[in-house]
Every structure is written in structure tokens, then in C-alpha cells.
Symmetry: C2
Subunit: 511 residues, 2 copies
């Protein structure tokens, strides 16, 4: 699949194919320019720059939309229906057609109404969350649901609207598959968490210390050390701070951010490793395919599998702490007596009493996700009144985690997602499940723990590039998972990973 | 000229005027997005990001061009020929028509050939400069001249091509006016510099110290202190480092950079104040006119007048050093014995033996500029063969400054400008001359030295905003100078400023 083969592909293709590729490159340039301006806004821009930046982003978004829904694009796609394409060319056309269809079918005035209402709802949500006042949020949410239903109907009037919205972030992975996985997880995780709670065992927590303040510069130095160790190339990325950790960029320039808790350095460290995982995917995409679906990342679930693989299957292993604890002690000498077992336990502590998704541990996290997906499917499909959300939320928290928030601020108002859209939480859990499945597959080929202990991360990254990254959008998600792991997506590996791990950590019978 | 008046303007305007304004806003968004991406590339971007960023910038430049030369724009402009516009509307139309005409007349293929050749010439120039080999640069330069002549002929086939190119950066300020000013400067400065040299007096130089290394973080802290003192608002700007100091941005977000010399802190300090001056202009433009010529900065010469005003007429005054020397000593305690007189002399030292424009002092700087303008006018007009440039350069250096470079690297190859275009140096000298004229005008209204001594810079910035910034592109350069200072541009004030100043510093007779 070298350069000669690529050249042959292009030579054999029609003018329409070439024109489409050229348009895809322009569109990517505009999208990547917007992404870079978004990074700047969140990391570097002085606050007073907002009005001008908002105008720039809106104009670029409009120009990108025009480049995509142009009649010429529709014409090329139609022409390509009757052209004989090889498999990779067909993938390119499939992805661009999908993008075109999802945009061209939605009237511009609806796009504008939706964007304006999202901006307003975002504002209302912030106020409602601050005031713990769900009723203030409800009318805006109700209208947002209507607008998204309208958008879903424009894209596909015959389909279930929730399914259409779900396909925004997880195309080509049937909702039934994901909901089946959710069932398995709920059945496996609820009793496991109950058993842990019933055991009453408290794992050591030597890093978290309300008496000691971890200096931010020291924490930043440690985060930089960890990504240097994992192989994050400074020539193609940078680490900064931002209120919410995120990754932004492409195969040439993938930047990450982290943030610090003053009494707990693990939080920043795990966030940094997580974002490094996202960057590793971006940087593993083929450089020569920049601007083309074959050089773009796949769905949210696959992206999250990469961040979760590095965070959980590297960063939370005993082997990693054998390697990394001395570095941590060099940065924070007061930790000199902490043992590897204590460190390993500390980074894997379960907190079922925690109410907040973004602070959840590896087990309870999925119950937070499942609950949200059950609720947003119900209200989008009209089976749940918006007014019933708080009560439903609290009931499910009680069922799944045995804990009920005292306020909606710590309950159904905690996440920003519902001030933009719906059916977007599935990717988080799919990512964790897929990470475990990839971890099982990589362990067939490589001595993962041995490599971690040696600080040899390159073979791990290379394996992921070979099996996942280099394909870009060549395969739909479902197919990619089979190509990469030899099997369809399943919750089996995740449960097989967590049950013995937490069984040992919490000394549980029957696990 | 309040909001009501503005509303009235828009109400009274035709649909064509409104459409044109809307297009101007979009175009500004695209240009400002490119500028922000350029800032990122020079200040933040990891080096490996270049290929993707180059694509983004090229695509945005193409989209901007399409927005501008669109037939619709031509139609609106034509329609507006017969519409009765008020003075500010007429200014908006004048500026957009000018931008449209200069772009629409140049064939797209010539724009592309020129851009490609500029990129190549830039590369060749770097190699030729490194190798001190003008002959390597000559053929690329010759072709660049031809392409620019072709472009000038496309814009205006009847005009002198040098004049057309000159109007890229200094529209509405006749070349004759500028060349007249150059004559006055040459006549005034050459003998002044000769007299200084003949006197043989060496001013003290207590800051520059080959034995002492000024820490970069300390120098950065001092640069931040100086811009804080001048009133640079952190809400609307930021200070970073970059190899070449520059300002980038708009009225909401105007960022500056500086760089450090390890044995001389004055260099960074003056560069920082200079760039602050550029930012002060940008931030003084009316915010509500963002996206419209009335909210955009005028020509290069006016921009440079603002940077030079703050650098020379504030930063190099005795009053400023009375105020600032204690801050400098607090940052660098080894300077405790330096007096205000010594500091004042140090920042105003003349170095006629210096060969490099960007390191030149307030007097010799203009002879470096005049020499370049004389040479590039001669070769663009065909009066000088490219092969003769080195000899001509060295001859003029000898005539004006009494010093001849030993290499072309330190001579005619030193600046990057001629690897892009021509007739672009005039703005630097116009800026200094105008700064002196503005300084004379502001001193009619305000006790400048008294305000400086008190650290009260706000009235100075307000005066500049009132007289220069707030007008945006309402007046052509020539007219703005009269509006702001009550007189046409003249070299008189600059000479009246430098002659007594350097006469006193160097203890010269007849000055």
C-alpha cells in the first residue's frame, strides 16, 4: 500500500473523484483552522477577544458549510455512483457522502435557529446549575429537543430521531449493539460495586492530602515528564493548562491540556495520560492523507478507546507504577515512603458515593453514562416529560449506585451536554469497552507489562497505529473493531478485566 | 457621532451598501482568522505542524480572495456609484473599492505564480544570505521583479510600476511627498552624524555588559512591567516571545512579542515598547466598527508612527528614565549605581559603524531606509541592473554612513523584504517622521514629560485615540495627518526633535 499504489488509485479515478478529494482538503483546512482558533480561545486568548473570535468562528463555519453543501459536491457524488471505485476510494466517497447528506438535507434556517438556541441554552444551563433550579432550564431544554427532532426528521424522516442523533457521534455502530453492551455492563457492574461497598474495605490513598498543597508548576513538570516518557513528540504537540482537559489538532500538530487539583496530583496525571491517548490517535493517522477521510479519525467511541487504553490499561497498571513512582517521588519528596502497592491501589480506588461523572472511577463511570443514555433516549422519543427528569435521575442513581444527589446541581444539571444536544454519551462507555478489548488483543502480541516496566512505550503505540490509527476512516466503526481485534465489539473483555482486578484489590470472594 | 447617527447612516444606505458591509465583515473575519493562525505559528505551534498550517493559511487566503473579487461585489460597487452617501459611507466604499480593484484586476494565475515564486525566493534568499552569495540570489530576484511589474501593469497599465507597488503599503500619500521628506532627512542627518563622529565622544553604556548575563525570565518580567505601566490591558492582549518582535490582532485582542539579548536588556525593552505602540493603535480602533474599514488601521506609515511615538518619544525621553530606572534596578540590582543621565544617554547612543538596519539607532536608521528605497526604485524602474546592487549598496553606505560592509550578508542581503516584494520600506521612515510631528502636536495640548514622570500614560493614549485611532480608515493618510496635526506631513519636526537632542547628548556646536 505504498506511494505507487496510491498514485495508481488517483490515476484510475474519475475527475469527479479528484474534485471531491480537493474539496475535502479545503473543507479539512477550514475545520482545522477553526479547531486551532478554538484551542487558542480556550488556552491563550485574552478574555476580551471573544466578540471578534466568535465572528471568525461563525464565518468559518458558514464557509465550511458552503464548501460542503455546494451543488457541485452533490453532482460529483451522483457521478461517482456509476464509477467503479476500489475499496479505499469507496470509503472516501462513503464518508464524504455521509457528511454531505447530513448537512445538505438540513435547511440553513434550521441550522441557524439551532445554533442560536444552543448558545442561549448554554447560558440558561449555567444559570440554572448555579442556582440549582431545574425549572429554569426545562423550557430551553424542551425547545432544544424539538429543534433536534426537527433536524433529525430533515436528515431522515423515516428513522427514529434518537437513532439519527446518535449517528452524529457513533456512525456505523448499531444502537442495539451499544444498548446490549450497556445491559451486560449494568448486570456485571452493579453487583460488583455492591460487593465492594458491602466489604467495607478502604484502599490506601497516600497521594490525596488535604494538608499538603501540590505546587502547580511541580504538577505541570510531572505531567510533562509523563508524556515525554510515553513518547509524546514535542515536534508535533504541546502540553498546556485549561479548565477542562482536552485534545485538539491533527496528525501534524496534536495538542493537549490538563488541569490541577491542589491536594491530589493523580487527577492531573490521569487527565494528562488520557489526553495523550487522544493525541496518540491523531498523530498515528497517515500524514499523506491529511485532508481526506483516510487521514481522519473515526467515531467518538474509537477516539475514546485510545484515551482510555493509555489512561486505564497503561496508567492504572501495577507495572506503570513500578516504573513511574520514583519519578513522582523525585518531584514530591514527601511521598518517599509510598509503596508501589499503595500507589497502585490509590489510582484504582472506587468511590460509589461520588455523584459527579467526570470524577468517577473506572467502574462507577459506566453507570453514570448508562443512566444518561436511558434518560435522553426516553425524552427524545417522547416517553419522558422534561419535568420528570430530576426524579428519574435520582431514582436511577439510587438503583445503580445506591446514592441520591441532594441537589440537581450535583444531579441532572451537572453536565453541559444537554445544553447542546443528545445521544452523545454512548461514546465514552464504548471507548472503555473497546479499550479493554484492544488491551486483550495487544496482550496476545506483546508483553505489555514487561514493556511498561522498561518504559518501552513505542511498540504499544506502533501496535495501535498498525491496528487502528493508520486506517483513518477506511472502515466503518463496527468493521474496524473486527479488523483490529478479530471480533465484534463486546463487553466481555471489559468485565474480564475489571472483575479479577477489583476482586484482588478489594479482596472479594467470587471475583 | 453616537449610536443614533450610525443607525441613521445604515437606514439611509442602499441594500448594496448593506451587502457590501456584510461582505467586509466576513472578509475581515477570514483575514483575522489567518492572522491569529499566523501568530500561533510564530509563537506557539510545534514545528512539525507546518504542513497542515500552510494548507490552512493557503485555503483561507483563497476563500478570502473569492469573497473579495466576487462579481456581486463588483455589482454593489457599481450600484453605489450613483447612490448618495454621507462622508463616512463614502470612505467605506472608497476603501473597499480600492481593495476590490487591486485584487480583481490581477489574474488568479498571476497571483498563484507570484505566491509560488515568493516562497521559492524566500528559500533562495536564506541560502544566499547564509553563504554570502549574492549571485545565487540574483536570478530569483530578477524574476520576482518581473512578476511584480506584471502585477503592477495589471492593476494600472498606465502608471509607473514602482508607484503602483508603493501604494500597496502607503496609499494616499504621494511618493513625491515621501521622496521630498527623504531629501530633507538626508540633508539634515548626514552632516549631523558626521559631526557626532568627528566629535569622538562616547556616551556611557552602563546596561550593555559582555560579562553579565541578563536572565530571560527577569527580562520578560521587566517587559511585562513596562507594558503594564504603559496601560496595556491584559484583558485585550498578551506578551510572548518570538524570534522577531511583532504585533498581531485587532481592537479586541492585540498581542505583542519581544525577544532578548543576553548582554543588553535595553534591546528587548525598546522592542517591547515599540510593539506596545502598534497594539495601542489596534486597541484604539472603534470596537463597534470591527469588520468595516472605519474600524481598521490605516497605512503602514501611520501604524509605524504609533510604535515610534511610544518607543522614541516616550521610551527614549529623560522623563521616562526618571520614572522607570528604579523598576529596572529592582529587577537587576547590580545596576544600582546607574544615574538617570547615564540611562538616558545609553538608550540614545548613536552607532554609525553599525551595518544592520534592525539594530540601527534613531538617526542612522533613516539612512538605511533611504538607501533601500533609492535602490529598489532604480531596479524596479529598470535603471539599475540586479548585478549592480551590491556595489551600489556599498557606495551609498559609504556616502551616507561612512562605513562599507565587508560581506553582502551584512549588506544588500541582510533584509528579507526583497524576497517578497518592493517599495515597502518607506513606511518605516514615514512612521518616525510622523511620530515626531504627532509628538509636537500632543505637546501643544499636554504636559507630556510631566505625565510621563507621574506614570500617567492614559491621557497620551487617549489623545492618540482621539486624533488618530478612532478614525480608522475614514481619512486617507495624507488627510488624516492634517486632521491629527493640523499640517501636512513634514520632516521639520523630526529634525527639530533630533538636532537639539543629539546636540546636547553629544555636546555639539551649532546644534
Amino acid at each position: 500500500m505504498g506511494a505507487a499504489d496510491e498514485t495508481h488509485d488517483t490515476d484510475a479515478a474519475s475527475d469527479a473523484y479528484r474534485a471531491l478529494l480537493e474539496r475535502s482538503e479545503k473543507l479539512t483546512d477550514v475545520q482545522m483552522a477553526s479547531m486551532a482558533l478554538g484551542w487558542d480561545q480556550r488556552v491563550m486568548m485574552p478574555g476580551g477577544g471573544t466578540p471578534a473570535r466568535a465572528g471568525q468562528l461563525s464565518t468559518l463555519s458558514g464557509l465550511g458549510h458552503e464548501l460542503l453543501v455546494d451543488d457541485e459536491v452533490g453532482g460529483w457524488l451522483e457521478e461517482l455512483d456509476s464509477v467503479d471505485l476500489n475499496e479505499r476510494q469507496a470509503a472516501v466517497v462513503r464518508e464524504l457522502r455521509r457528511e454531505y447528506d447530513r448537512s445538505a438535507e438540513v435547511p440553513a434556517e434550521l441550522v441557524e435557529r439551532l445554533a442560536a438556541h444552543q448558545a442561549e441554552t448554554q447560558q440558561v444551563w449555567q444559570e440554572a446549575k448555579a442556582a440549582d433550579d431545574f425549572e429554569r432550564f426545562a423550557p430551553a431544554l424542551e425547545e432544544l429537543i424539538d429543534l433536534h427532532r426537527e433536524r433529525a426528521a430533515a436528515i431522515d424522516p423515516d428513522a427514529n430521531p434518537y437513532r439519527v442523533l446518535y449517528e452524529d457521534s457513533l456512525p456505523y455502530l448499531p444502537l442495539e449493539t451499544v444498548e446490549g453492551i450497556f445491559d451486560e455492563l449494568r448486570e456485571g457492574l452493579v453487583p460488583l460495586i455492591e460487593t465492594i461497598e458491602a466489604g467495607g474495605r478502604e484502599l490506601p490513598s497516600p497521594f490525596r492530602d488535604p494538608e499538603y498543597t501540590y505546587d502547580e508548576d511541580d504538577q505541570m513538570a510531572l505531567s510533562q515528564e509523563v508524556v515525554d516518557l510515553l513518547g509524546y513528540p514535542r515536534e508535533h504537540g504541546r502540553l498546556d493548562t485549561a479548565p477542562h482537559p482536552f485534545m485538539s489538532g491533527n496528525q501534524f500538530d496534536a495538542r493537549i491540556t490538563t488541569r490541577f487539583r491542589e491536594h491530589d496530583p493523580i487527577d492531573a496525571l490521569m487527565a494528562t495520560i488520557h489526553e495523550f491517548g487522544h493525541a496518540s490517535y491523531q498523530l498515528g493517522l497517515p500524514k499523506e492523507k491529511y485532508g481526506n477521510p483516510l487521514g481522519a479519525s473515526l467515531s467518538s467511541g474509537v477516539h475514546e478507546s485510545q484515551s482510555r487504553f493509555w489512561e486505564n490499561h497503561i496508567g492504572r497498571t501495577r507495572a506503570f507504577w513500578e516504573l513511574f513512582l520514583p519519578t513522582m517521588k523525585a518531584q514530591f519528596p514527601h511521598l518517599e515512603d509510598v509503596t508501589v502497592d499503595e500507589a497502585y491501589a490509590a489510582v484504582n480506588r472506587i468511590y460509589p458515593e461520588n455523584l459527579i461523572r467526570v470524577e468517577a472511577d473506572e467502574l462507577t463511570y459506566h453507570l453514570h453514562i448508562i443512566l444518561r443514555c436511558e434518560i435522553d433516549r426516553a425524552f427524545v422519543e417522547g416517553d419522558l416529560d422534561v419535568a420528570e427528569i430530576p426524579e428519574t435521575w435520582n431514582g436511577k442513581m439510587d438503583d445503580y449506585l445506591g446514592v441520591v444527589p441532594e441537589t440537581d446541581t450535583d444531579g441532572c444539571l451537572q453536565d453541559t451536554h444537554w445544553s447542546y444536544g443528545f445521544a452523545a454519551f454512548q461514546g465514552y462507555t464504548v471507548g472503555s469497552v473497546l479499550a479493554a478489548q484492544l488491551d486483550a488483543a495487544i496482550r496476545e502480541d506483546l508483553d505489555v507489562d514487561g514493556l511498561i516496566r522498561e518504559g518501552e512505550f513505542e511498540p504499544l503505540w506502533e501496535w495501535m497505529t498498525e491496528h487502528v490509527h493508520r486506517h483513518g476512516q477506511r472502515y466503518p466503526t463496527e468493521e474496524l473493531i473486527e479488523v483490529a481485534t478479530g471480533e465484534p465489539l463486546t463487553a466481555e473483555y471489559f468485565l474480564e478485566y475489571v472483575e479479577p482486578k477489583y476482586g484482588e484489590l478489594y479482596d472479594l470472594e467470587n471475583y
